[in-house]
Subunit: 331 residues, 6 copies
Amino acid sequence: MSKKIITIGEVMMRFSTPGHERFLQANTYHLTFGGAEANVAISLAQLGMKSSHVTAFPDNDFGLAAKAYLRQMGLETDLVFLKDGRMGLYFLENGSMQRSSKIIYDRFDSAFSLFEGEEIDWDLVFENVDWFHWTGITPAISQQAADLLLNALKAANGKGVTVSGDINYRRNLWQYGKGPLDIMPELIRYTHVIVAGKTDFENCMDIQADDWITCCYEAKKYYPQIKYITKTKRESISASHNKLHGVLWNGSEVINSKTYEITHIVDRVGGGDAFIAGLIYGLMHMDDQEALEFATAATVLKHSIPGDANLVKLDEIIDLMNEKNVGKLMR
Amino acid sequence: MSKKIITIGEVMMRFSTPGHERFLQANTYHLTFGGAEANVAISLAQLGMKSSHVTAFPDNDFGLAAKAYLRQMGLETDLVFLKDGRMGLYFLENGSMQRSSKIIYDRFDSAFSLFEGEEIDWDLVFENVDWFHWTGITPAISQQAADLLLNALKAANGKGVTVSGDINYRRNLWQYGKGPLDIMPELIRYTHVIVAGKTDFENCMDIQADDWITCCYEAKKYYPQIKYITKTKRESISASHNKLHGVLWNGSEVINSKTYEITHIVDRVGGGDAFIAGLIYGLMHMDDQEALEFATAATVLKHSIPGDANLVKLDEIIDLMNEKNVGKLMR
Amino acid sequence: MSKKIITIGEVMMRFSTPGHERFLQANTYHLTFGGAEANVAISLAQLGMKSSHVTAFPDNDFGLAAKAYLRQMGLETDLVFLKDGRMGLYFLENGSMQRSSKIIYDRFDSAFSLFEGEEIDWDLVFENVDWFHWTGITPAISQQAADLLLNALKAANGKGVTVSGDINYRRNLWQYGKGPLDIMPELIRYTHVIVAGKTDFENCMDIQADDWITCCYEAKKYYPQIKYITKTKRESISASHNKLHGVLWNGSEVINSKTYEITHIVDRVGGGDAFIAGLIYGLMHMDDQEALEFATAATVLKHSIPGDANLVKLDEIIDLMNEKNVGKLMR
Amino acid sequence: MSKKIITIGEVMMRFSTPGHERFLQANTYHLTFGGAEANVAISLAQLGMKSSHVTAFPDNDFGLAAKAYLRQMGLETDLVFLKDGRMGLYFLENGSMQRSSKIIYDRFDSAFSLFEGEEIDWDLVFENVDWFHWTGITPAISQQAADLLLNALKAANGKGVTVSGDINYRRNLWQYGKGPLDIMPELIRYTHVIVAGKTDFENCMDIQADDWITCCYEAKKYYPQIKYITKTKRESISASHNKLHGVLWNGSEVINSKTYEITHIVDRVGGGDAFIAGLIYGLMHMDDQEALEFATAATVLKHSIPGDANLVKLDEIIDLMNEKNVGKLMR
Amino acid sequence: MSKKIITIGEVMMRFSTPGHERFLQANTYHLTFGGAEANVAISLAQLGMKSSHVTAFPDNDFGLAAKAYLRQMGLETDLVFLKDGRMGLYFLENGSMQRSSKIIYDRFDSAFSLFEGEEIDWDLVFENVDWFHWTGITPAISQQAADLLLNALKAANGKGVTVSGDINYRRNLWQYGKGPLDIMPELIRYTHVIVAGKTDFENCMDIQADDWITCCYEAKKYYPQIKYITKTKRESISASHNKLHGVLWNGSEVINSKTYEITHIVDRVGGGDAFIAGLIYGLMHMDDQEALEFATAATVLKHSIPGDANLVKLDEIIDLMNEKNVGKLMR
Amino acid sequence: MSKKIITIGEVMMRFSTPGHERFLQANTYHLTFGGAEANVAISLAQLGMKSSHVTAFPDNDFGLAAKAYLRQMGLETDLVFLKDGRMGLYFLENGSMQRSSKIIYDRFDSAFSLFEGEEIDWDLVFENVDWFHWTGITPAISQQAADLLLNALKAANGKGVTVSGDINYRRNLWQYGKGPLDIMPELIRYTHVIVAGKTDFENCMDIQADDWITCCYEAKKYYPQIKYITKTKRESISASHNKLHGVLWNGSEVINSKTYEITHIVDRVGGGDAFIAGLIYGLMHMDDQEALEFATAATVLKHSIPGDANLVKLDEIIDLMNEKNVGKLMR
């Protein structure tokens, strides 16, 4: 029977300029939807898992369109609520060559940031759930969102659900009067798999060290429930050409995946989410090394797909792990 | 020498669905820009007037793109400021047949709404200016915008500039704690030409009467500086087929323009702004009857043009007034 | 609590030429999906009903995309199966003026036509269902499809579910060796609301009479379980301009709806399905006259929307019935 | 066996703005090709005739693309030459409602205008040809083009080919030092069917009269070889709505076709060429009244098709003549 | 005088997703046409040869559009027949980076597969023809197609026409009851130039060996009329980056062409057909080494062009062979 | 206070095929505008300079659209004149991989080529101007353009304005009876910074030498006012992959910039203009080495942007010079 995951977080309308047009030039925009946590849920739905996303949208046509998108991508939407507030938006200018991609966020006062979730019976939600995933974006948005997440985490832990959290520190958020160190440590205490780089350790966990591994061991001291810490390492030769591999610390050793050259990048937004989704799937179905290779192959494929979501199937990831059918013409 | 006009107001990015797609369907949006007052300024620039628009945009790529749009359309942009705040947005679903068009506004907390305009020397601005135009949208947005407008109006009156104001009452605005009757009467006191229908009279001037003409005479009692009151009368047979004509009260009589059947409407947004721009041009260059016919012909043509702005030339309006070259193929 | 409907039938990929391009000209096609019965289900889902569609798609990316579309449009897809066979296709050239629209079907050997449905427990399916809808297209496709439908109808009747059937006689189908008179009468025997015009009566029920009402009374004689017979009457002045109204016979009298002029038609495909969906909704929630007016207003709005599905909301239909907000600009 | 027609004339690249965008707005243009005489040839090829067009293009990628277009549309291109000179261009802004469509021509110094045709053996060309068609645009372009046409006309008459000429007087052409009265009379002397309105009679034949019929009889006096004179009468209610019918004088009487209301016009460019093509086909296969009805039905259908060419089939025209399948959905 | 080639085979409508969108995402498709043999004919027409393609299409608008495409691309279409049956279709999802491209074929029961060609006088067809080209796709489709091809081959051999055959083994075809070894050997017996890799030798000629050259010598034993065997060697670093070169065995030695790095691939479909067309042209006009270099340069350029067909001119291929004007801006 | 630059030259409409379509395939073209000198002015306007361009357009909608474009891109347009003559045009087919890009020019008889500029008071124009830039395209177009430029150069020198000239020798221009050696030397005599490669030295200055540096010293002998000579060195590995760096001779030494690999090129047209603009900015604000690095970084970024103009901001160029934020995702 297929495993079940719950994710929580804001989903935004994403307007991107066509081709490599700059914001100054574009008079047509492509619309899709995206949000770090929903991206993870969609990846896992494409891999065959039952995935349900918790969020709130404005009670207007955009909220309905966003919900329809989540359904189209295979999510269960029983926990999608239509409420007061704006639709969160983000605008993407796709870079090329040495020119960076740019994102303009416009997400303050969104329906999700105002959502208190009183209608949710969290204990019921986590019945028969295998995994819960959150990111550090949610508690950075508003006090309501931080509280909502804390409630969810407590319930998930109560039900014995495995929890992953992508720390994902973003300086431009956190504008509601609290700082990450006020909020994040408590949330991390309920989390078993964390995604964190050195700035995340420093800003959200107050852990500083010269190298990432030391940070991992430090983290384990304060948060003994942590089982895995992970990250991707990316070298940006240009906006069109990156090298990347995954790193996983499992409490006793650091594992590195194969390194991929990815040239001719189509869309790198959501690459991190694809990696996490891959790792979640992997940790549920494979050993640690395989799980990491699976996660890395998943994020590589994401870079070839327009939009936030990693629309790939299980066999495509497995094939890439095994260097099979790479860049061919499949008839 | 060409006449000079100043306008003031918010300009938004306008995202519209292609063809007649609904918000639920669209995954491509067309971007242009629009705002009632800037639409008027652009119309007049197309007719050969010097037109300068006062506004504020966020200091990011969208602010630059919006300013570039105003320049492209022929406006002077010395009084366009890049400041803190969001870009105002609106989203348009173009109706058809019996199905109405829909607009979703997303304009709160825009750079314009926060703009206090301390850097503007209003007396200098109104040197050698012939006309100043405002709408009731500006004071409905925020206290800052209402104050900014009041300063402008005082200076304009001080310099003897003719002032027009489109009352344009919108219930969904006015959310900053003041109501229209708190604010509008003082602004109207500095205005010579007003655009008002019966709901405008009632909500913004506290004038109620059975018929529009009585409202006009009542208004004159309380605002003796008013010289003209005007409006368009529109009958919506469907989203694609309207009938309309213009009405002008000049203090002594009511004048009606010819009535137009407009079928196969391309875009009716900005129709009212095109009418006002036509009337401003007309009152500066023609007698009252001609001015009204000119204004009505201008708004008719607007309905054939995608986007907010009435991109027509003087001879096109004159031709339509004279029933010349109507719907032909001009080689 | 919202009512539940089940529909059954083939869903095809629909490729249409852009604008009014002819097949000979087009090198871009718009893709959406459509099928008479699923169109009905989607309409009802948009009105707030629980709608589940029974169908089969090929087990490839097109099958997945079609299923994703149904989910996006609000349907439950537990009864969508991925099986052997092709994806049914249809190609649409959108007419204009006096020039007719053209459809090229390419649906033979589709996964649905080969689907035997052995995995379906029909009794379970019809638990707590309020309505079941089928059309005469399904039994015209293949013996398997006809058998599948018959099984469903028996179970639905067994559970006391109200059944509607759109006779929808199409000469070009029925190529598997049986004729409509071999198959349809048995199916109609399980049906309470039928959509039929005079050619349907003649070809599928062997009933001929000079006028439609007589046909209705004749039908009642042979199929005493029938409660309603309905149809739309359409006058095609051009591909862009039709007049239409609905007609409903309720066993004792014939009711006519208001007649609508619909000019500037955007897309008339699915107009009949929108009518039926409206009638189903209406008969469940209103009196006969209102139900018919509701159905007619629903189909009118469909003509303004690109694609097969009638993406309108309850209040939009109600407003049109009441001549409110017709062809306006809703801010 | 199918009849054969030869046409001669310039073919231009046609760049049109999308939808109803004005030249000031457009940043995408649709490319097709068009020229009055080639439009006629293409219409006739679609009706099943052998059609060969004589023209010259620049010897570059645009010349090849233009030739490829003619082949695609069914013409024989043995008499298409690649030579020195520019590609003729025209730019179309598609009007709507009361706003006229606009064409900007950019055709001077085209390869066709410089083409002397020395490589053509005209006697050979007209072997087994049934009809030759020219327009007054060709001799208006350059002395070379006028001479080329005269040579063709002499040979066509020598071979007993029926000749039609569309006088099509355009004031903006005729810039090479000759006027229409210097050139056109000699060309008309070789022509049996002419398309002419009153301005054509006056400017190209020096015939003035109060009414068109008198012009016809006058023309016959000076050009006794003329058998038919024809024209369309068009009333432009708007750019989207015209009324039109055809008129044919056959030497003894004036025949009028049925009048059509054409609303929701897609593209009226090439309407006249579609009429002439229809008349040529009609006069070869029907009696005079039928030929005129056929021609008028043909031009009506053209207005529904984007591009210069009338891409309709024989049965579509016949059906419209017979008021069959008008504006339906043909499955 | 230019050489003449005949090709035979199915031509399909090709619908491809835009950019790098996946089938699950696309709602717009680009249409062009393609088929291995017609692709070869088009390449050769672009190089100035007389090229005529033998095929059958359905007698509907798609058949006409496909025929028009072949004419546009420069082919003679006297041997294109409109018959019963479907239009063959294929759908392309363009890969990128490590993600493979995907093709979904939908070609069963096509007009071509049912075509028996009784109306063709093959001896007449091959009068004055220099070359005949076929592929192993045709006999894999249906018994009718295999018989049709055999008839053509016999006639071609009877007239002394050089014959090339691209073995092109595809496991998914061959569903009509015969296997490749039942059919291919007889066809190969009439063929002088074959394109074959090791799987082709094994499956269609029952020849297995450790290396390709041994296969070639084996083939010559059984098919002594063979003069050349050729193939391309492609290394797929990713969907966007391949290395390739051509290999030619001329009965006495194996020749290798220069190896090209092709990065930033636009469209690799039809790459093999471009190679064969280049080789056919080369073998008619150059020595073996030059012919192979020409063929390889031709296929390299194909990868830069969207669509199936290699729309390049003679001088472009020659320039690339000579490393002249590579990747420049040609003004 | 920001510096002011004047540029002079023709601006053309630029129609480019979408994606990598060839001219033979395209039926949609993207329109933008471009001209070497205006491209420089726009680059500098984006960097914050006051930039005014001198040119003439036809007095029609295209002239207005071109002027609107220049305004949109930040130029002052007081010296843009609407006159008789055509709009200059160019058509771009964007290459890929080994396939070169192609430009078809169609600029003869343009309004600019006929423009005599009698309405310009050059002394007034150059008041308070810091820099004047011209290219060798202008004097190559017509005698009028050469004279106009000479007048401008004399006035610029009279006012002490620094002058740069991009020699830019193009063999296909120079068709009005004069050769470059008749005209260019006098113009160069008024110029302080020249852009020249070896063919420029030879054809426009009659200077030949084995190496570029010797040419520079030779040039200085004849044109002692020259302070800088510069060029870019570009290696075209393919149309998608170039290497380039800048070279600057400052009278005493040759400076080379860093060399950039630019893969995944979006649009290389205007690359040279971006370099010159960068150098002009650099020489006004930095030392020689920094100026050259700035210019080279500027041209690198241009290759990532569709259209002629280098729409980058100061900090983007500075960042690239400093290898900061290269190819990242900037949130």
